[in-house]
Symmetry: C2
Subunit: 393 residues, 2 copies
């Protein structure tokens, strides 16, 4: 017979249900419910715990608050107790629990970054720029990749919000067309900064690069080199960068009074095969182009290789210019003329905008920073007709 845990009288005990796998009893005399006790948890089971403020306090013989004050360098504490506490904390390998601190302070000192792909040099460098500024300001950085997937991007943003990041720096995936997931943190009062691929539906700070100007400059450079039939290998018309860079190209042609020819403007999907096919079409023309501006840097490489394969010389027979990723561009032969987009600077600027917003709080007015690209002239465009021909490669 089961004995009551209070009066220890087995007589008055009766069964009273079965809950969550355990028998329940009721003692009539005590009017008390109780259940079979649970098997003791395996002591080896529970994970070794890290030292807490309570451990330190107990060992020193003071209150929790005193330990907290000692560790945080507060004033309300005597030098001797502070020393004793610090000593014990060191002994116990005490490391403050950031989770608890953040929960209490409602701030994590962490900013979330969402990028399409860390493997692309542009983003890796941008992240480095972000991290430099953030670290200097005492913030940690949490990086997420969307891998160009809208779904992944949304879940990344939600995870970052759930982690209560203090800010969100994002470059949208190529797929993203719905921006509700970014409006959300903004509504929650989390500062949002867009960079590179921005979104105009949200009233956020933005860092963009001047695609139009960059394309203008690189096209103008070709014109100065004596090129007269300049082709452009553009991307999908749906992409903003594609349209912007084409606009810069057209603007340069117009400015210098060159004819604009539809056959010399082709939109492709950035794949190598498409680039080669396009090149062949151009080469088969009665009057082929004397220069090609590839708005995507991998396509520029494709063209260089394809031309070499076809026995054509760069830049003598055909000048080639690209856009971005100047590190790779400097390695190949001939060196590829391109526009340095300063991804590091873009990252820095994005982080700075976040810091600015944190400092100004409510009265921050989101603004847009434009980072101008710099024309980097290398062998692939140096026809030697212009005044720039003497430049060092």
């Amino acid at each position: 017979m089961i004995k009551c845990v209070k009066c220890s009288l087995p007589d008055e005990v009766m069964k009273a249900g079965f809950v969550r796998g355990r028998q329940r009893y009721y003692c009539k005399s005590c009017e008390y419910h109780f259940t079979q006790e649970r098997p003791a948890p395996n002591p080896a089971e529970r994970r070794r715990r890290q030292a807490t403020i309570a451990d330190v306090a107990k060992q020193v013989g003071v209150a929790l608050s005193t330990v907290s004050r000692a560790l945080n360098g507060h004033s309300d504490i005597s030098a001797t107790t502070r020393q004793a506490i610090l000593e014990v904390a060191r002994q116990l390998d005490y490391q403050p629990n950031l989770l608890a601190q953040s929960l209490k302070s409602r701030a994590t000192s962490t900013i979330g970054v969402v990028i399409p792909d860390i493997e692309r040099p542009f983003f890796a460098t941008a992240v480095s720029g972000i991290q430099q500024i953030a670290t200097e300001a005492g913030y940690r950085v949490m990086i997420c990749q969307s891998k160009e997937s809208y779904q992944a991007e949304v879940s990344n943003v939600q995870a970052l919000i759930a982690s209560r990041v203090d800010g969100l720096l994002i470059c949208h995936s190529r797929e993203t067309e719905n921006f509700d997931h970014v409006k959300d943190p903004a509504r929650r009062g989390i500062p949002v900064v867009h960079f590179d691929r921005v979104c105009n539906e949200v009233n956020s700070a933005k860092v963009i690069l001047d695609d139009r100007l960059g394309a203008y400059n690189v096209t103008e450079h070709l014109i100065e080199q004596g090129c007269r039939r300049i082709a452009i290998l553009a991307g999908p018309p749906s992409l903003l960068i594609s349209r912007q860079r084409q606009a810069g190209y057209l603007s340069a042609l117009r400015r210098h009074g060159l004819p604009i020819e539809d056959a010399l403007q082709v939109h492709i999907d950035f794949r190598t095969a498409s680039a080669e096919a396009c090149l062949d079409t151009w080469l088969a023309m009665p009057e082929p182009p004397d220069a090609i501006f590839a708005i995507n840097y991998t396509n520029a490489f494709d063209l260089l290789l394809a031309l070499k394969k076809r026995g054509l010389r760069v830049p003598e027979d055909m000048a080639i210019v690209g856009f971005g990723d100047e590190f790779l561009a400097s390695l190949i032969e001939p060196g590829l003329t391109t526009v340095d987009l300063h991804p590091y600077r873009i990252g820095q600027q994005a982080a700075s905008l976040f810091l600015e917003q944190m400092a100004q709080k409510e009265n921050f007015v989101p603004r847009t920073c434009v980072i101008a690209g710099d024309l980097i002239i290398r062998q692939s465009s140096l026809k030697g007709h212009g005044h720039l021909a003497a430049w060092p490669a």
Copy 2:
């Protein structure tokens, strides 16, 4: 005269100190201490707060525990209340606070990764591999860069511990010689996995790449191509990878009965200038080498360019092979023969080892995985004398 906040009698009130900027009083009749009240905090000051479980509970009219059960899909709840709670949670844009959850559960579902530099393709790819496995298993990834600084590495590790990551994946900086900061998490019961640049002082799981075998293979390939005087452009002898790759090189030479010549083994500091200087020394020899194995991929590029500048043909006059970073290697002309180190696989393996350790808990025995590199043959080494000459580039 100040009135007592309890009895409202001004007579018995006397001053009783001055604490933290505010006057303190004592009422004799009530035996009660009190201070001047603090100016009310600016209501606009306090940050907009995100909805919590309490907000949902209040609006629905149930207890906190009920809301928690509803949100977590627990069983002890009726379908109707669950629906009502979910509805209100949606209305209020409720997002669970991961900080609080982690604090309670003592687990963050986050793994910390420390790498030297995210801008290096090898690490960017490795991180991607880590992230894939981690994400699939429901873990988030927190990335830190040491930028090859020991100090930064230590502070990164401490920050990750403070954030209570569930695991630590680390590739040491070049500077790191003291490994106490990694022993620390291990002592705390945090699983540690080393990858690429490991540390043997800690009893952790490790993922390493087979430098020796890779170097052996690439050297043997050169021999098969008919090369007989193979030089090696090694790195600082202090670096383990440098010694390992040299060992593989020597082993291949010995295996094939080729003489080993000290003049053909040079240790440099990986800089471009050093590589060029070394090349010139070799070219000035009465009997120059017919192939060079550069253990660092950037040096391999340096050599390609330098040779071209000197009017020498690759691979006819000089074969060149590199090590790692096969993406870049495929872009240049001629394509660089190299060893694919499979950084993605290394990252995946590291993450898998962590998961394994989490699953097995106490009875996990740390083991070391070796990822073998694959020889990727391209133009730069194809002298056409061997049976591999027919391979597609």
